[in-house]
Symmetry: C2
Subunit: 674 residues, 2 copies
Amino acid sequence: MTPVGLRQDPALIERCINTVRALAMDAVQQADSGHPGTPMALAPLGYVLWLHHLRHNPANPAWPDRDRFVLSCGHASMLLYSLLHLTGYDLTLDDLRQFRQWGSRTPGHPEVGVTPGVETTTGPLGQGVGNAVGMAIAEAQLAALFNRPGHTIVDHYTYFVASDGDLMEGISHEACSLAGHLRLGKLIGFYDDNHITIDGATELTLSDDAAQRFAAYGWDVQRVADANDLAALDAAITAAQRERSRPSLVIVRSHIGWGSPHKQDTAEAHGAPLGAAEVRATKENLGWPSAEPFFVPADALAQWRTAGPRGAAIEAAWRERFAAYRAAHPTLAADWERRMAGELPGQWDAALPQFQSGQALATRAASGKVLNAIASRLPELIGGSADLTGSNNTEIAGAASFQAGQREGRNFHFGVREHAMGAVLNGLALHGGFVPYGGTFLVFSDYLRPALRVAALSHLRPILVFTHDSIGLGEDGPTHQPIEHLAALRAIPGMTVIRPSDATEVVEAWRAAIAHRGGPVALILTRQKVAVIDRAAYAPATGLHRGGYVLADAPGGAPTIIVMGTGSEVALILGAYERLRGEGVAVRAVSLPSLELFAQQPQDYRDAVLPPAATRRIAVEAGSPQPWYRWVGDRGAIVGLDRFGASAPYQRIYAELGLTVDAIVARARALLSG
Amino acid sequence: MTPVGLRQDPALIERCINTVRALAMDAVQQADSGHPGTPMALAPLGYVLWLHHLRHNPANPAWPDRDRFVLSCGHASMLLYSLLHLTGYDLTLDDLRQFRQWGSRTPGHPEVGVTPGVETTTGPLGQGVGNAVGMAIAEAQLAALFNRPGHTIVDHYTYFVASDGDLMEGISHEACSLAGHLRLGKLIGFYDDNHITIDGATELTLSDDAAQRFAAYGWDVQRVADANDLAALDAAITAAQRERSRPSLVIVRSHIGWGSPHKQDTAEAHGAPLGAAEVRATKENLGWPSAEPFFVPADALAQWRTAGPRGAAIEAAWRERFAAYRAAHPTLAADWERRMAGELPGQWDAALPQFQSGQALATRAASGKVLNAIASRLPELIGGSADLTGSNNTEIAGAASFQAGQREGRNFHFGVREHAMGAVLNGLALHGGFVPYGGTFLVFSDYLRPALRVAALSHLRPILVFTHDSIGLGEDGPTHQPIEHLAALRAIPGMTVIRPSDATEVVEAWRAAIAHRGGPVALILTRQKVAVIDRAAYAPATGLHRGGYVLADAPGGAPTIIVMGTGSEVALILGAYERLRGEGVAVRAVSLPSLELFAQQPQDYRDAVLPPAATRRIAVEAGSPQPWYRWVGDRGAIVGLDRFGASAPYQRIYAELGLTVDAIVARARALLSG
């Protein structure tokens, strides 16, 4: 694309760029909070990229083949908000005036879904880099699957901007190493090399040679020595676009708070308002025509708004291409539209396996079978494991591995990079066209927790396959045995945790996960074998969809005691149920695979499962008791774990730590006699 | 050090090395679980390093100036256990036979405190690399503080072994970038470059040029082309030792499962027993003299056991040096011994500040004052922040920054590297001589959670300063506002979370943290100002040490309702208390800054604070309600948050989300009328 603007009136261009600086200063000053320095430094990059390279249509932020722009350093949100407003997105000057105020569309850090044109929620550093890698993967796979000779309907770049902080975070290593391995040639990053962090000069803590580091990952690296050099920025972007075999990093030497007479190149410009006097001085220094806050020169706005017709033309041309594509390849076009709309195909769950009692298999093994059954009818289901493919049972049989030369591959080898995996899944979900999943051991959910949180906050629905879910993994020992993880995951707002008790519940768990919307779903699965519950004798597994259900009841539905649990411990509560029933106790057994789904049920359903009058309750779960107090109540008891596990064959650990039918029965007797 | 053994009988040396291979195969086979391949590959490195370089005394694993050896790839535990047994640590062949069995000293992954000679708990990949960086920092600082001309009492290397997995993990980037910046010249790492991961060949997922990557961090990098080339290993180690201005990485090209005719260089050798037939075939292939499991040739054992006299002589020489040091510098020597013993100096808490009602200050600000007061009397208190020094109030005023040229510096600039910070704190604690602390925003506790877990499992006591602890941080918005983090931290076994309500509780919180042993302590602190509670009118803050205490009581100590809470929400419960008391309600206000400390109190104390008869209870905390069900009971209520926060001035967020005195009073009235 020709950088038309770069041949235009230099004074006008400078006014355009300074508009971003002024808006950023003013908004932060008005909010008395925020980060003005980076928007001021990167305003020229914003100008060159957004007005001359970014293929986007401000009138339609949902145009599916738009370039993606990720501001990984989300604290520089006023850069993004300014660009969105100026190029004509549905974001007004009044919205900017409401920066960081209750109910505004300009929150402190960008949030997807809140602000038109914001592609992802950033702020927790490094997440955006991982998201961008996921988006670039999405583009590469969709292009491979859907483009046809003469019909290119998927063809966009993914740009990201990263700060020192983003690149210090470990996730940047994982994500950029993966991107280099995968040769994501349409991924283009900008490193805002400003030599300043919150604590002061980066030399306090950072001596990396970033260019050498990224070269080690297999990236193409360029340098722009002056962030105000528009021609150099333009040339670097153009070269990065042409480099299709490797991701590109453009290291831009910038000056935080550029234009501020007293705060440029200082940490003071990073995370606080400049102050009214310094804002004034900066505007004078920049030759800014007005002291009025939020002033936008008419000619600058007009120049910025050329993005509108340009974007409309780009999208219109694409729509023409898509119409030709639909005519030539109607089935492909329909499938593409369905996938991008996030709609499931009919009959997607028609081939789910059935499991019969008498069998015993690990729920992770059942999960692998269900996953494969779904995958055969749901091409958008893609994913993999953080180097535990065989253990997590996450492989789609017969499908290729996603690699540089195999863009259609549905099996992802994320490597031992759990955190990047989490952020990449989010990027795939954000891009659209995919139902992404990723696996690791439950204990390592900690490694990707920040990405899970962003998924929940962003209402994304990656599916996490967390296997080896308890002391039941046995010999690997306490470093690998989760204890606190169920509690920790359940505490995340919007997260849905499902821990099926047997293979039949695994079928329903996957069905629920695929149908779920608005937040991540974690499937929690055993390493060890568990018997398939006899669904003729006990209630059907479809009860899982309500989070909890009565598996086996007391005579007349009037229990004097309730035993409840999740996952592999349901076998124990059924054992206790049968024992107590044999002793004439009116006992009810409840499977509670998802406390979140159960909590969302109407009160009358919950009361039907856990009658308020039945106050003698025992919850059994091989993990922290914290989530269970709510459900057992004052007269109940919890058979859980408030210690770390141990290294031994798992049966021994269960016995030593008191997770046995005997122990449950003893607790029941104590409650009944209490 | 002269590699004596390398000039000895090559056949004997080979037997020594094959002993490690045989023991690893046999132990994994017997346990029917484990990872034989890496011990088999790295046995030669073990031989050269442990017998000819590592300055250690198998008879005294606690000798303080020993070299540290960290097996970051903890799954290769049989390498370490074999080396410990063979060189004469208190670990018998019977212990090896008990590999991965209940109660054994040879758990699946190495655990510090369980096995003599194990320096740190590893298995969660990357943690050991970070620990090693912390140990090397500890050595550098102690050497700077305590060595004197002619008296070198601190002078050791820190070695670590890292796998592909360790180096794919993001924490390796953070830790190694920091180590390079800090020029930790006595840190020496070995990269087991075996081209195999669990999923298969590393080329599936990894294309990094590791040498270039570490050069970018400022490390010295060497290559050993053949893991069986003892002379090359020896030369590389010697060169790495001589390189004192940069950390060293030795990239060792190895062959997983070396010697196995059918499984060498395959993923099958990684994480599963070779199988009885393959063990037999491998022993034959290696020319092993016996098919008997756990066979150790007498001459090989004798050779290995030369480590005993060698180590004893090394320690004895050091003890002589230390005696001379003590004579010359008795005060320094006493202080060093005190610090290494983990004992606090007398009067360490004599200068703590006092805060008066009428003031209002953020608990993070109070924390900064208390930290400084303690630091002036506790030189082992060192730490810093992950690039939020000013926000976390973690700086020790007047102290230098720890840098390459400032080894005495007590202020650490960890950079935006939360995960490495966590692992480095663990390494400092493991080394001994320090009370380490580290700060970041509470929301970013997620980024270092795996390190916190290892600290808890290892009974280490880093102190975490987590500020900006709720929606009270305001404008930065939901990406930065913790919701689930208190619940998630509290769920970790052995973790102590303290959320003081005001500056006076902050004093006690720090006092508790410094005195605490056996697990990490997290101090949870506000960004916003909170009024100092009038301790003349309400109970003294020393109640914090019992986790919870009655702040203000109903007449006669007979409450009909209890309001309880933590942190900044205690101001709300006191407001509600006063309002209800004014209305004639018999109300009690309880401060519960640490649910863990409270749960550890005897039942009678807990009942005195929360009388079982007082079933109307309201808990108030700006976070997930999950931890509170236990304490409010069936008739209680929780005023918490089960949604994400919002970007706005904090007072508005509190009001909009219902965390107000009015809302608490309304809930109280509802409970009282219920």
